[in-house]
Symmetry: C2
Subunit: 812 residues, 2 copies
Amino acid sequence: LAIWQRRLFFFFFFFAVAPNNHFGNFVFKMFTSVVVVVLIPAGYSNGFRGQVASAGLLDLLDEGVPGVGTYEDFNTIDWVREKSKDRDRHREINRQKKQSDLALLLSLIDAFSGWLLMLLIGLLSGALAGGIDIAAHWLTDLKEGFCMKGFWFTHEHCCWKSNETTFQRRNKCPQWKSWAELMVGVPEGASAYVVNYLMYVSWALIFSYLAVILVRAFAPYACGSGIPEIKTILSGFIIRGYLGKWTLLIKTITLVLAVSSGLSLGKEGPLVHVACCCGNILCHLFTKYRKNEAKRREVLSAASAVGVSVAFGAPIGGVLFSLEEVSYYFPLKTLWRSFFAALVAAFTLRSINPFGNSRLVLFYVEFHTPWHFLELFPFVLLGIFGGLWGALFIRANIAWCRRRKTTRLGHYPVLEVVVVALATAVLAFPNEYTRMSSSELISELFNDCSLLDSSKLCDYISPGKGGERAANFSMTTNGLADRAAGPGVYTALWQLVLALVFKMFITVVTFGMKVPSGLFIPSMAVGAIAGRLLGIGMEQLAYYHHEWPMFKGWCSLGAKCITPGLYAMLGAAACLGGVTRMTVSLVVIMFELTGGLEYIVPLMAATMTSKWVADALGREGIYEAHIRLNGYPFLEPKEEFEQKTLAMDVMRPRRNDPPLSVLTQDGMTVEEVEGMISDTSYSGFPVVVSHQSQRLVGFVLRRDLVISIDNARCCQDGIVGASRVLFTEHTPSHPYQGGPPPLSLRPILDLSPLAITDHTPMEITVDIFRKLGLRQCLVTQNGCLLGIITKKDILKHMAQMANRDPDSILFN
Amino acid sequence: LAIWQRRLFFFFFFFAVAPNNHFGNFVFKMFTSVVVVVLIPAGYSNGFRGQVASAGLLDLLDEGVPGVGTYEDFNTIDWVREKSKDRDRHREINRQKKQSDLALLLSLIDAFSGWLLMLLIGLLSGALAGGIDIAAHWLTDLKEGFCMKGFWFTHEHCCWKSNETTFQRRNKCPQWKSWAELMVGVPEGASAYVVNYLMYVSWALIFSYLAVILVRAFAPYACGSGIPEIKTILSGFIIRGYLGKWTLLIKTITLVLAVSSGLSLGKEGPLVHVACCCGNILCHLFTKYRKNEAKRREVLSAASAVGVSVAFGAPIGGVLFSLEEVSYYFPLKTLWRSFFAALVAAFTLRSINPFGNSRLVLFYVEFHTPWHFLELFPFVLLGIFGGLWGALFIRANIAWCRRRKTTRLGHYPVLEVVVVALATAVLAFPNEYTRMSSSELISELFNDCSLLDSSKLCDYISPGKGGERAANFSMTTNGLADRAAGPGVYTALWQLVLALVFKMFITVVTFGMKVPSGLFIPSMAVGAIAGRLLGIGMEQLAYYHHEWPMFKGWCSLGAKCITPGLYAMLGAAACLGGVTRMTVSLVVIMFELTGGLEYIVPLMAATMTSKWVADALGREGIYEAHIRLNGYPFLEPKEEFEQKTLAMDVMRPRRNDPPLSVLTQDGMTVEEVEGMISDTSYSGFPVVVSHQSQRLVGFVLRRDLVISIDNARCCQDGIVGASRVLFTEHTPSHPYQGGPPPLSLRPILDLSPLAITDHTPMEITVDIFRKLGLRQCLVTQNGCLLGIITKKDILKHMAQMANRDPDSILFN
């Protein structure tokens, strides 16, 4: 498994040192300079930590008691607190920087560390994406044959310099041997077919088995697409290890294996996860980002833009994807930085050049025929298809995943993957369009037929065979007129219909298995097939019936009026839109793929229809549906809260519950507080003036309380169970009549907890929670503390209101 | 002045009915269908209003007492309340729609009215922008001459079908007469020059005089760029009439005049204002948007995207501009709708085709030469120039505008405009590069020289004059090699230097005068001149010193290595970035202009440097600076609040002030309340349980209170001065011992005022104000009401902290 790594470095190094390679050069220089720039201050600041800390620069930035201010696993962060912490830090640096030159330098490094981090994320993610592309290409080709020049060549590279290769014969250069040629010595015939079939299935099984075993053994978090979890993490949830180095390593490797095994999955979602892992790991280089959960989430938002940028070669689309689909808190500063990181990543990927065509984008297409106004009708039809399929896919997939969770099916993840891989391989091999990888299929479907094209899809009958007339004809129309479909096209049509049905079903069971699996490519493949079918249909209709009124005036005989490739593209966009409910980002990604503003109106028509149709059948996109299925505490920013309930209906304690557990500011002993902590499981307690008045003073977090009391008990003199716990501003100068010294916990008291009145409508409460990123909020009535609302309460309430099971929200 | 309107409709109609015109056709059909779709439900809902209202559908949507819930001029809206109102409305519609088919239909119309509105805004703004372009073109040409075929032809259209026109002679077709030819009969020579000069200056004076007179007489709000005010309005401020029909009409007309007068101003900022006026006016068609200030601001955000979209032909850039630069509250739904509106507008503009080249974009360029890594150095230099110029321009312009406000200069706006126009025309005419309009200048500077180009800037010396060698040479290098500059280029260089100095100074005094004036085009012109100068310098350096180590390897003799047009483009981007501090949107606009991802890295380098340099010299962009100059209450979302003050330091009453004016929930009479209203000028009063406990119940707005009491006094039986005002939930069933009946004002009481504690850090308070769009916030201590913080208090505090004059914030 180290092969692809070696190949990656080989490629990277080759492109970096090749003298004519412009961008390789650029990237190489950037890389070395960055390594120098990073390592020096990193070592510097670590090495000098002691000295600097003793100079008083950093000790104020660190917390007094270790652990106070951090979070436990599966908990929600408090955005307000994290942002305050960062501002304190920034203020401290600003204060120091006026005092010494060293501090000034460090403050400058601090200010630019964000940009540096973005650069590093871009470089690393771009390199990893390039490596994944190359490795997946190679392993996919390995399923079909072997290069005699060296096992590390892909089919394309193997035949690259072969002399025999014309356009048609390129696939059959002598250096490249199919498994049948190697094993039974015959390139064609029944026995060769059987051998190739068996080898194809065997490799698929091996790859998928390896993938699932690696995921199970080393990094369970590496499975799936990762986007639902990343959305949840970005909204402020903590899942330790989800973006760790093991997940990165295993996800990178298993993604290659899963894609190569031929399963109906893509690498786009997982690439977002990979980029986020890179971002999270690289955050550890900088104190600013390592220690602050809110700042780190800004970096992760940018990283998710990087992921889409390298997946499609669409940096602007990536940034908009992050903004529209993934991110929760996206300040303008992050927009600009994401854009920078996405560009760096796209150019790194381009300099690695995994597709061998110097193109940034995955599916490069160039259409030259304008579309006609009347074509909007089939475009809208594609949109309807995409919306229907998207909504049905989500329902079917969620039903299947729920079945997996609740029945015995979930106990055999390895077996499931192997069985699905077997079914996929067995069914896919006989059909040319399912045998090839999904991205190749999409490329072929998007492609507009030129005269030289040898694909079956381009097997049209020239209007006059041979002689003067044909030549003249193709001269006048530039060889691109609509023509009658030949037998190849009809065969292709049938195979495409079968492929469509196959892909539609197999994707439902594939997405959600315990291997890395993205949904973009399979959705696009379904849409592209449907679109191409409709496109060819329209084309033939227009060719045979160009006298029909609907074609009159714009589609006469011998004119090029329908571009089936465009239909395929629109179908792909519509299906992707139906599944993910992306809008602007989807249009922009497609716009970057095609590079022309010409087709934005058809794209808008298709994606808008698709979104409306899909939304009418079910409000949630696939990611939201999976978030809900898994019970993550995610407060959807898009969904409007429609109910007319009030905060008093949602807060705890409910009408018949015992009263709220509160601390008083000076009336409790350490023992009483410890008792309350062990009796309850709340993650925080309000502090009031007295039990009688219930007037709110502040809020203290359970974790901080536990740590502080433990710390005081072990290290502070005289703190015993009977010591009074004080949250007041002034500790009494003389201790209570000979009693033990009091414990002042004022430093851990949050003096500015947000409180709302009991009459606040829930829609405003939900808005406050979303916009400020709160974890809990206190409820008062006429100035007296009445209750508390946590994020979980809100989620449960929303689930109840939507007639869903409120107990599905698992975490806090 | 009706000419341009007639021309506009003529053009629109022509392009709409021309059978071959694809988009014209499309737009025409869209337009007619839209007219039908709009007029029918509008008439329908108006006509059936009485009937429907009696059916109980709409009366719940209207307020009980007219005027309650609206705002006065120069006041800040309460976003939370507006959004609640919209949710109530939506909930009501949802409830009704289950009951009758008519309500279901109306709810569908309501749901799609947002999209329809976007379509209308796009069509109207696109049409207006097309009209402005055509009219400005025509008037600009009128300064130089006159078409004999018909006065309504521009120079270009006049010579369009002339037979004599080769590339060089196109400018001199016989139908087009310069003023000298018409008046003294000679086309060239000293007397002709003088006549042309005089006519040029006279026309400039006439146009500018007309523009300023029209603005003064009919719509004072039509002056300036409008973007600072639109930013303020979008953040929740009310300026009545700023987006009204008179402003729209006058701004459209005077913009044409101002641009044609040759003043150093552009039409991009004003186009944003024009689009926002369209948006605001069209909002009146739909109750949903007419009655809700928050919803209307969503529409205006989209309209500002439309403005930039039609200004540059860059829809995606327009949306990002709105997101990054203008908007305050930009939910995802608005993103998607803005994009739609921006596209519709761009295509409408394109179908009008004002530039005559079927291009969507204002400056279409296509470069083919790749850039080299070492060129990043001059690119960064351009960025530094842009940043320096941006920062200095802002300072100089603000100083000049302050002078205008404070000295007698401000009393003579008409004279000022005429004098500046005179100076501009007199100085501009002798120099060819200032005589032409700024957008033509930018186009010429961006342009890459082809061999056929007749411009002076392309007067290069071919390597070997005549004969075989030159032909061969140009064959091998495709005719695009770097060449030595000829005398034309050297003349052009000097003229460009003079033009640069002229533009740099004249723009400072022009921006802010009482005519519509945009800043994009002048800034871009300055940058483009500087960039072209540097580009030509680099090119000649590389040509004469191609053996220098820095040019070695990539820039040998006979190779095309430097593209001066690219430098001009980067310079323009850098200067625009320095002035406006746009980042992503600027890069995307430029990317849409050039249409290639190739040049994104140079663009990023130039704009990033420019922003950093400019930010180092002054934090504010030109729009923020003008907002502050004018004292608008705008809470900058980008600026971080760095100080460590607490809410108690900002709230009123201050330490020695009289206590806060509060109402009690059941202890005051109507007279006492009226007395408090007349004694104070606060826009709202907190309601407490009693004066002793100071426990907060709610908040009531002054305007609502005044209207309700007036209403009760006139229409409600028995309400006299001694009536008790009750804010409690339950009105006592029997009136107080024979006294007058009490007045219950519970319905206007806001039961969910946001309250923070006195210890809340101001950074969090500022964040809460920004994110929730608050107008005021109450401050409590241990549950007791202590004070109030308004948006104005925060702005004053921020001004104080930044050592600025806190009294500059004028409005509330």
